[in-house]
Subunit: 143 residues, 2 copies
DNA sequence: TATCGTTGCATTGCTTGCTATGTAATATTA
DNA sequence: TAATATTACATAGCAAGCAATGCAACGATA
């Protein structure tokens, strides 16, 4: 029970739970984090634009945005030029948790990687990027 | 967008989808894989015993077992000595896909890690085990 | 300009994870 | 042994992922 796939899956779930506990006081959940990071960089994006930054499927993002709107983190306003699209803005609340959230993310990163030195961390990240690249290339070839 | 957490999560999702596509012809889904691996090793386990091998929560396993029973992979029979417990057996169908499933898992492992040499694979697995260990230790301390 | 394909987003339904809680059955103890 | 605690499993409800599909609005073209 320790193939790469099993370990990656296990690690991912552990990390999500660590993140969940740390950001719970901010009133957000792990699935909202990548979207918030993007919106803290730039507001007023459409769902399409956001999607381009996020490695998730459109349906997943649409549902996540609905929950974020329900939770008072964002608002979807009408697009000035295209009635199909909507522009996404942070609420004051969504904006206000930015610094604490960045802080939490940094702390988790440090805590969790504390047993690896800098070179090892770089090697680890490098391996993951290479495997991710490999899988994406495999998928493209088959199409 | 390339912290360890983000990469791990991304990689885990990619791997699950690769697995999903490869095992779809066998009529099973990724969440059933670890349970099947355990049952192919030994049948007639209780849920409790299975749980001890699986790094998931009891409720998750109970639901997975229900879907596996629905899909005709396992049957839950009454425990000879304890009326609360049930022993879990593979159906003929569950048993029959064993070799193809092992084969699929091996192939995926190879395909996906093909850009890393043996030393790099070992290093990669080692890093994951260390980080997993670190997180579990962190959680224990807090309790 | 009327038609028709494309685009942007929402919805539905499923899986797989979680926590919290319910319910028998079993085990312990007063 | 009656009361109580614990155990084994199930259930409910939510999050976050996916594919498939629906629908209105937009854009291109005959």
């Amino acid at each position: 029970m320790s193939s790469a796939g099993y370990l990656v899956n296990n690690l991912a779930r552990l990390l999500v739970e660590v993140l969940r506990k740390r950001i719970a006081p901010l009133g957000i959940v792990p699935g909202q984090f990548p979207t918030l990071l993007a919106l803290w960089e730039r507001e007023g994006l459409t769902q399409k634009e956001l999607l381009g930054m996020l490695d998730i499927e459109q349906a997943t993002l649409a549902n996540t945005l609905t929950r974020m709107e329900r939770d008072g983190l964002i608002v979807r306003k009408e697009h000035p030029a295209d009635a199909r699209a909507r522009v996404i803005h942070l609420t004051e609340r969504g904006r206000s948790i930015r610094d604490s959230a960045y802080q939490a993310a940094l702390e988790i990163n440090e805590d969790v990687l504390a047993d690896l030195n800098d070179d090892e961390v770089q090697a680890f990240l490098g391996y993951m990027r290479r495997v991710i690249g490999r899988i994406k290339r495999l998928e493209k070839e088959k199409v």
